[in-house]
Symmetry: C2
């Protein structure tokens, strides 16, 4: 449905992003034609980002591109999938500066090459509203190997990768909040995509999700889909050094803010205790893997503070102390 | 990335649209997990529609849903693909009426059932701007059987399905233009999706495209991708009875308007003359198939009027007489 001057943009700017992948047909056709890997299932996900909602309207274009790609890749990671390529639906404001647009595409290019995910197709349109980008990621997993939210069993451990709450603090810092640690801004603008971890967890994890809504809310999704209760020890939740420093001066609501802050894109997963050593071996200097609780019969998420007190969590994911 | 009250909407409104397809995982996971059909290639396309750009902001929700689904299915038709399912990225204005939203989803449901295409996943977000919907269609073709824009050969016939220019006149009628035939409004609001024709053309057509940008512009895409010239006899282009009546009173620019009007979503395709009888046999009472010209060595699109005069076509697809 691209029209007019969009054809030039697609050919000259987006064309190179296919990296000559045969499936893209040079972006000159109605659709991409992809050979699915033998013996695999396809993993399909799309995420929409709207300027002013999912990234700041005054974020640099590279940040918008990075967040779009990484939030989508994070869904692949959570399923244990190998991304094969993506479709981009780019909806530009009519008055967008050509430089901004080119920088956004350059940002996409840098991200896709970092993760080895070529552009296979898409659509380019204009809007009287804010910039809106929907990426559709196409990935694959060996037959039956996909991690889902629904596989947790009673007595499974609950694990999390990386550190929690950093993206929320990074966003606060970018928005100029007093005391929010500026060194965490990168965790908001360029969140990790735990693709390698996701693939390594096939056969080890029983359920997985990426943390986009916040640790406690996403734990709730596993609890609901698996039909279990998840008990999380707040004192065991891994925090970065800047987050610990911030928390020391943040007062009583600080911990709740970290536990419910979105956009970390770390993996939250469950696994049988028998897999503890195998999972611990996957951790690295830049990616701690931490046990933070246990799944059991019941429903919902219980979060206990360091003194064993139960924290109250309302349905929107906010914690009241 | 859905948040807050969106979860209820996804479960109660979108959940039923999966029609319990296993790949959708009940819309409760990060991605869909689809078994690709044996021996097939995947066909992947997405199209974005923005309220006020690709449908009228005051169109009924069913029209928006219908146009979104059919413009996307049309890409599947043009590739000769069998649609397997779709992902919906729905971006709602913050002040959208719940009734409008529910009617849009009901419209999607009616469309997907008509064409047998279940919802497999997606994303639901909000925007301060106009409603924006991106559907990603996932289809399949037998290995090597996809129709593309690049396969036309010199001396191939040029064919078109249905009648041309009706959607442009239907839109004009809906916008209250004097003389535009109201009986064509349906052709704008509910354009045909030529899925069955597309599949039947595998092995018969050498190249194909769906007419979204207008007959001449889309012929230009085949000409460019195939590296050929396409000569179209304007007098042979099939017109509906209301369009013929309108044309008789429209003056000199009328024909050009029909030949460049978008959104018909009919199929334009090329085929060797040896396949004429086989292709003619695919036509039906509600779907004429008409030969309108010939491919030859060269470049670009030449359009001749009934008296053999060459019509001048500028690069934006508009025709000057």
């Amino acid at each position: 449905m691209a029209s007019g001057g969009e054809f030039d943009f697609i050919r000259t700017r987006l064309g190179p992003l296919t990296r000559n992948h045969a499936a893209a047909l040079g972006l000159s056709d109605d659709a991409a034609v992809l050979d699915p890997p033998e013996g695999c299932q396809l993993v399909l996900a799309c995420d929409t980002l709207v300027a002013g909602v999912h990234f700041r309207a005054d974020d640099p274009p590279e940040t918008a591109a990075s967040r779009a790609m990484r939030s989508n890749l994070s869904d692949m990671a959570a399923m244990g999938a190998e991304p094969l390529g993506y479709l981009s639906a780019l909806t530009w404001p009519r008055d967008i500066a050509p430089d901004w647009r080119d920088a956004f595409v350059a940002g996409l290019a840098a991200e896709q090459d970092r993760f080895g995910v070529p552009l296979l197709g898409g659509d380019t349109t204009s809007t009287p509203g804010p910039m809106t980008v929907t990426l559709t990621l196409i990935g694959s997993v060996p037959q039956g190997a996909a991690l889902t939210r629904g596989g947790a069993a009673a007595d499974d451990d609950i694990w999390v990768s990386g550190t929690i709450g950093d993206a929320a603090l990074g966003l606060a810092a970018q928005e100029g909040e007093a005391g929010a640690p500026a060194e965490l801004i990168d965790r908001y603008t360029r969140p990790e995509s735990r693709l390698e971890l996701g693939r390594a967890l096939r056969g080890l994890a029983s359920a997985a999700i990426d943390i986009s809504d916040g640790l406690l809310a996403d734990a709730g999704h596993i609890a609901e889909t698996s039909g279990l209760a998840l008990t999380i020890e707040a004192g065991d939740v891994p925090l970065s050094a800047p987050a610990r420093t911030w928390l020391a001066g943040a007062g009583e609501g600080g911990l709740g803010r970290l536990l419910t802050g979105g956009d970390d894109y770390e993996l939250l997963f469950t696994a049988p205790p028998a897999h503890r050593a195998a999972i611990a071996a996957l951790a690295g200097a830049h990616m701690p893997l931490t046990r933070i609780g246990r799944a059991e019969a019941g429903a919902g998420v219980v979060c206990r503070d360091a003194s064993g007190e139960t924290l109250k969590i309302d349905r929107d994911g906010f914690t009241h102390f």
